[in-house]
Symmetry: D2
């Protein structure tokens, strides 16, 4: 029979994302509501290894729902990749009388959690917190929606100056292995072309499209490029290539970088984080474990960590078609 | 057999919402892509009655995806409620050689469209554009997500001053018949209480909750109130009532009003508008009619206008429970 | 000879304004830089009376520069208006070994500080923190610039919906006795008319102007109204009056309210707060007292509290002329 | 005697800046108010050379006050650097019956205007529109304030993620020859260090400061770097150098790039543009010429183009001291 859960630990791990604070708040408040103790570990697995934590009550998370980043900090822990590191973490949880953990992060975080659970049998629930939206078992990860708004606002600003100068801009957005950010922000910003890791349309097609776009009377062109696009050139080489082949264009590059991880979370991300984390606490109190909570078909649903990890969340390739139609 | 569609009309009607321009752009660009002509009627049904329209091509919608409001204007037409008015509109469509209409608006708009089609047999596709999210047959209406962000940003600002002065704020948001905005923005803004038209929890419960909240050490309280809440008092009377019964509180009122309808649309609303309207054009070209396109379970889907109109989109009452837990 | 200053107290008082946290941070950091102790009193004069304070060091103000409101809270203290209240405050300062005070607030705050100094001889420097910009001896008060941006962004949103519906909007902004916010935000938002407390142009002129505006082909009209305008009607009565006299107009009202006090401060307000408060600390350490620091002709300058209090900062009436010209 | 001015031309030239549209609007509306004709040339001097312009009336500038960029487009014209190019421009102005020109741009624009006037005697007024704030004869250029807010908002977002990971960020901002943006945004964003073209503090000082900052318990560090800083390394080399010498730091780089030129202008920039351009029109109508309008000591003032061009606007080095004190 499952041990009664009296004390839940929570941490954030991997790349931070907007809404992680809303998630922490929801875990802490749900624990308070269900008269369960809650402690927060700093810097993800590293804080578990070092026993670096604080006790949290409903007031410790006051007003953090509005803030980007994570008050518990985040890190990637090399030590946790070792058996010894995980043993230390398990010892610390025991000492701190933690009965279960809620892990807020991406697939690296969940992979670590799965091994940890196999070795030390501490119940775990994963909450998908990453701007990349590349987690199986949920339509949206916490932070994705805010990142899209950040990217679209940035491109809107660049569009102002691109239109004023009849320029072509290459804009690199995050997404090393997944084109979710590029695809959605590209459609949202009205980009002329979108390059993603999942599809290599080739350089000729890009040149054709830009040439057509110019002839159709467009006063500016925006190409959104995923960090991990498969075209075989980085964004600066790409811009050089286009300048050489389409000398009429004054091509510029902007790499949006880490502004995409920050900022006050959107309402969508705050509500998503709130709903997922209340459910995470309730699942643990209900004796469940080794699940990830997700938002699927407009409902909160849980799947096994295995399922969440077995493959990547696939992009909707129909969005490429939509983008083509709309950049007419 | 369905008549071939060579020319599509588009209009926006009812209360305007952010993303209507993105929707117009998607209709126009999809028409251009499919070599179909497109004309835009001004001020909804009124422009159809007056024959007030412009021919639109891919360039007429340049850079409007970023803008709030609607370049085609919107209105509520009394004349269209009469048989004569609708006859004039039909005559004008005939004169302008319009084979089908795409109507962007709320349920009033669709009701008008249904009667119009019954009388004049012009194929119609409805696109749900309203900040209220109260349309059956779609999980999200165009403009809802942006309105939520606008409300949450406004409440975040009010929270700054509320916290600085240990104050209680009643904030009225839009939603005469539906609590979608109040419920989601209330959770997103971390409101202590949320009052919606669909549920009357009573004044005693409100006083209790505020009293408990104060005793638990909260430095400020926010109550989000739908325009159409069922508590039997308007927001100013409500604040007076609370002041009388909880004299420790310095209660203030803010009515957010029309800022909720404006602003540059969020990425979510831009992508939603783009996807729904490309589909709307494709459905017409495919010989379909009298449908509404919606976003259901993370997919674009169409339902009959009848279905969209037969009942209201219901709020998820579980969100009230989430709000209760999180305002602990 | 002036007593050596070893410990400085700081507080915020009156209506809060964006940038007060940046001001607190600058006081605390400047104290740390000059090896002077610093304590922060909560809720303005009330915290001095109750001895409610905390010791502050460079780390206590980490990351607050970005946040609206004031971490020291603000209040209007009735008790401080009495001799007994002020005596208690003086006793508490003595007990806490505070040698001088920096008061961040408006003219009410400074008036209190002047009497306090006359009775208890504790050196005081005032820092103008209010969104109203109505303080003599400075061109800009801390929070004014942010409030203008908040108002202009709100009116931009309302303009979206006003333009979509060809509507007239009356928008009430803060400024009970001073038209600074109305005048500057009105010009910034391209308002058709601006009503301020300092000038009563009469109702006939307003009607004329709106009528002219409509005839000139404007698709929407915005009238910005100061809370304290002198036209003898509140904003709702004004809208009614216009509706009766100009029935073609669909007039609506929005009262912006407390969103104007909140929000992350603009860069201007952060730099202003930083510069004024570093100077405030340096003046105290230099043996100066009973001054207000201000930003005059693009330089930080100090004037006596008497001078700051002897009259109101006057609006630049030329701005009304500019507004007239631009709403052509 | 000066020829009567019946028709004024306006153009925007050089790098675009937020508020240029507000400036165009003010020129056009002031012309309308004074019953003077107005035409707008596209793409700066290039449009003058090509005779590419449009007639503008009060309605042509409707609602553009809110938008970034410039509806008249901007460009840098090589042809205008030649005598022949300038002759063509003069011929076109004559043909279009333009009696005087208002030039919105930076010092390159004004230098061109000065030569043009010397050769062709067409009265000219310059309006300082550039984000760089590097123009003599004005405390603020149009667009500078908005750019500062854009930079500060971007750094606030990066601070979220920097704090979550205890990281060091190097952030490159615009300003090839002038440190205005770096200096003000650096103070506004609470940067730990600011590197500007006007001052080379050396690499040792930077390392010392970062080391001290880390020891004092700071959880993140931000270094703001002007494009044109004089430290002899670009921002990527700088980050590498610091990583080698301070291995405890996880240093990252973000180049903000062209987002700094775009965005809806701040209230300050809209009011500034409005006031300067009304004055520009009035000066021309008053028979004045070859002046630049500026905002000096809180007043609109004009200086000769010569004076505006004879030296650069100097940064206030006291701000470096303020930054040092506040990053304690």
């Amino acid at each position: 029979m499952a041990k009664k859960i009296r004390r839940i630990g929570v941490m954030t791990s991997g790349g931070d994302s907007p809404g992680m604070n809303a998630a922490i708040r929801a875990v802490v408040r749900a624990c308070a509501y269900y008269h369960t103790e809650c402690i927060g570990f700093y810097r993800g697995y590293q804080g578990m290894i070092e026993g670096d934590y604080m006790e949290m009550n409903a007031r410790s998370v006051q007003n953090i729902i509005t803030r980007g980043g994570t008050i518990l900090k985040s890190a990637r822990s090399k030590e946790f990749l070792t058996k010894e590191g995980r043993q230390k973490a398990a010892d610390n949880l025991k000492k701190a009388e933690v009965d279960a953990m809620i892990l807020i992060g991406g697939d690296g975080t969940f992979r670590g959690g799965k091994i940890f659970n196999e070795e030390h049998h501490i119940p775990i629930i994963g909450v998908p917190g990453t701007i990349d939206n590349d987690i199986n078992g949920t339509n949206y990860t916490i932070g994705f929606d805010t990142a899209l708004n950040t990217v679209v606002e940035a491109i809107d600003k660049i569009r102002d100056t691109a239109s004023s100068h009849n320029r072509l801009f290459f804009i690199e957005v995050m997404g090393r292995d997944a084109g979710f950010i590029a695809l959605n922000s590209g459609i949202g910003a009205g980009a002329e072309e979108i390059l993603i890791p999942e599809e290599n349309l080739g350089l000729d097609r890009l040149l054709d499209s830009l040439e057509r776009s110019r002839r159709s009377g467009k006063t500016s062109s925006i190409v959104v490029v995923s960090e991990g696009d498969k075209i075989g050139k980085n964004v600066f080489e790409l811009a050089e290539y286009v300048k050489e082949n389409l000398p009429d264009y004054d091509a510029k590059v902007t790499v949006l970088g880490h502004i995409q991880r920050g900022g006050s979370p959107s309402c969508f991300d705050r509500v998503l984080a709130s709903r997922l984390c209340v459910r995470a606490v309730e699942l643990l109190l209900d004796g469940q474990k080794n699940l990830m909570v997700g938002f699927v078909n407009n409902r909160v649903e849980a799947c096994s960590l295995d399922q969440a990890l077995k493959s990547k969340h696939k992009i909707n390739k129909d969005l490429l078609r939509i983008s083509d139609i709309l950049s007419t």
